[in-house]
């Protein structure tokens, strides 16, 4: 879905969301309440600069609007794959963004992620996956890596990976798999404004994703292993 | 016997040999390309049983030969060896098995 249509659907009352390069930011109103909105579009590649720009908005929200909920709109191809970004510590910039979002959560800001187009790996770990809860539109896709690069690294053939992407929940990029695995809390269909309003109320503040993955059957081992480590003599 | 899509599971049993006293499980080696890990535990029977999961299929006879040699060098009884293998050569397999026995005899703290 195009970000403008998304913004209108999420905030039918009003919003001031704008695009600056690949970054989205602004505010929207839900049931009379102002929400800070930030995110990416155009399948953004997240480099050092874009990570910092997003972190700035989170920090400003913490400072100037205590308690204001934050909505992260996610459409990214993952981290920028450039030597310069590696040299300049893209991992640290991404960690910084993640830490800012995490601080917002601890300071009482409800943080909701929404994958509305695509999300890859590094660009997703430090945004949607560090929110209180992450949701997705049904047509969105989440990947760890593109198949050609994955084939090179794993030595599994592209054909094999493509077949697995169709048949195996562990490989399939559809967001319904992520729901079954607990990574995505739920898909938003129909009235998106309503879905957002509900999420702001119902999103957990502790990490329940392993429990969700076990309950939903898509990721059965993680939660029991966590418990076993907690209980081990 | 082949399991799903590419792993081969093998099992061997060797009789005779001397019982090892009680011991804590021992792990040697690492599962990496051309390498293997060997877990040695007290066995439930009087034999020496060896369970192997390997990604290098079709080498059953070589495993048997290597293990037979090993059991002649170290005729252990009442032990269970479990192996995860990623294509180690017979020399590396023999080395790890000998390392496993050394670890039994001189347990690391």
């Amino acid at each position: 879905m195009d970000w403008k249509n998304l913004a209108d659907a999420l905030f039918p009352d009003s919003h001031s969301i704008e695009v600056h390069g690949d970054m989205l930011c602004g505010t929207g109103v839900v049931e009379g309440r102002t929400i800070a909105v930030l995110g990416t579009t155009h399948h953004a590649a997240i480099g050092v600069g874009l990570a910092l720009n997003q972190a700035r908005i989170v920090l400003d929200t913490i400072k100037q609007h205590p308690g204001r909920p934050i909505l992260l709109l996610i459409d990214t191809q993952g981290q920028q794959l450039r030597r310069r970004d590696e040299l300049l510590g893209i991992n640290r910039a991404m960690a910084h963004l993640g830490c800012c979002i995490d601080l917002a959560r601890r300071r009482g800001h409800r943080v909701i992620g929404l994958v509305y187009d695509q999300a890859l790996s590094g660009g997703f770990i430090t945004s949607g996956l560090i929110a209180d809860a992450c949701y997705a539109l049904p047509e969105a896709e989440i990947r760890v890596m593109g198949i050609p690069a994955m084939a090179r690294v794993t030595k599994l053939s592209e054909e094999r990976l493509a077949a697995l992407s169709r048949s195996s929940p562990v490989f399939a990029p559809g967001v319904d798999n992520y729901v079954v695995m607990g990574g995505i809390r739920a898909l938003w269909t129909g009235d998106l404004a309503q879905a957002l309003g509900d999420a702001l109320v119902t999103a957990p503040t502790v990490d329940e994703r392993a429990a969700d993955g076990a309950a939903r059957g898509g990721r059965r081992c993680a939660a029991p292993i966590i418990e076993r480590v907690l209980d081990a003599a | 016997m082949s399991t799903a899509a590419g792993m081969e599971r093998l099992q061997f049993t060797f009789r005779g040999g001397r019982r090892v006293g009680a011991f804590a499980p021992v792990l040697v080696g690492v599962v990496g390309s051309g390498n293997l890990e060997v877990l040695v535990e007290p066995g439930e029977t009087a034999s020496c049983t060896v369970d192997i999961e390997t990604s290098a299929r079709g080498f059953g006879q070589i495993w048997e030969a290597v293990l037979r040699d090993f059991h002649e060098r170290h005729p252990l009884a009442g032990v269970r060896l479990s192996i995860n293998d990623m294509g180690a050569t017979p020399a590396v397999v023999g080395l790890r098995l000998d390392q496993a026995v050394s670890s039994l005899e001189q347990p690391r703290p």
Binding site: A55, R83, H96, M150, I226 | P25, V30
Partner: protein, 294 residues
């Protein structure tokens, strides 16, 4: 003789770094907590799924420990591996050891477990930040040949302290992935000196992305870990604002291009061309003479 940290396996590092005989493992190999996803791909499991976790003593202080085995699947985080780390960190919040020491060696998400690995790494990241917020210091030691990349590269920078050797590398994307995407002119993955100038321990130490640089030596890593046991940096708005200013200034001041030597010159390192020849002590002197010294 001082054993090379890089050449040790994860378990050898644990045995040599912590107080002798003090490591007590949780979910040891004989419990066979293995990956549910690898067999279908014809890949062997490891009995510990590539990470050993437990408690130990470090200079007689209680610490929780995790060591990733870089030789198994490149240290990649799969479902069980990630859950062991998450469980360890959650237990740290409950049991309050002096610190959590993570001997990291990982390419990030284990691609063979794709989605399960990605969610798992994210749970580890949340758990590190929970431990940090609870006042339990998290120390990450990076000295293996595979380095610490991908989602684990982000996790490392969520910790209180990062200790590296020059053999260690820290970043997000490996050089092969960058070369595959943008060509050899962008990043020649076979130019080892270039690779290490870009993401290796010496560069990270000079740029401030790691806190301590040591020689490739288990004893040196042990000493550094002991010294950093009480290095606790709880995250606050002030701390993150300061980090933001630092990263922003670094970005704006950095010379164009991706040349490490030019970058070090700009940092005020006078003998930038000689960095690759200096040892850890030499690098410490250089860094102390720059604006980074605190």
């Amino acid at each position: 003789m001082n054993p090379s940290y890089a050449e040790c396996s994860a378990r050898e590092r644990i045995a040599r770094l912590f107080d002798p005989g003090s490591f007590h493992e949780w979910l040891p190999p004989e419990q066979r907590a293995t990956s549910p996803h690898l067999a279908q791909l014809g890949v062997p499991c490891a009995f510990d799924d590539g990470v050993a976790v437990g408690r130990a003593l470090l200079d007689e202080r209680n610490v929780f420990v995790a060591a990733q085995e870089g030789e198994f699947m490149g240290g990649g985080v799969g479902e069980v591996h990630g859950a062991k780390l998450t469980g360890l960190l959650r237990r740290a919040v409950r049991d309050r050891p002096s610190a959590v020491v993570l001997l990291a060696e990982s390419g990030g998400v284990r691609l063979h477990e794709a989605n399960a690995g990605l969610i798992g790494v994210s749970e580890v990241m949340r758990a590190v930040l929970d431990a940090r917020a609870a006042g339990i210091p998290v120390l990450v030691l990076i000295g293996g040949a595979n380095g610490c990349f991908g989602g684990m590269g982000i996790v490392a920078r969520c910790a209180d302290t990062v200790v590296m050797s020059d053999i260690g590398r820290l970043g997000m994307s490996g050089p092969e992935v960058i070369e595959a995407s943008y060509g050899v002119e962008e990043f020649d993955a076979r130019d080892r000196a270039l690779v290490w100038r870009t993401t290796g321990g010496k560069h990270r130490f000079l740029s401030g992305d790691c806190d301590v640089l040591v020689e490739d030596d288990v004893a040196a890593f042990r000493m550094a870990a002991i010294e950093c046991l009480d290095r606790r940096c709880p995250l606050s708005l002030e701390v993150l604002e300061a980090e933001h200013v630092l990263l922003g200034e670094r970005l704006h001041a950095a010379p164009a291009g991706a040349d490490a030597v030019a970058f070090w010159h700009q940092l005020g390192i006078v003998r930038a061309e000689q960095v690759s020849d200096l040892d850890a002590a030499g690098l410490r002197e250089l860094r102390a003479s720059t604006a980074l010294s605190r």
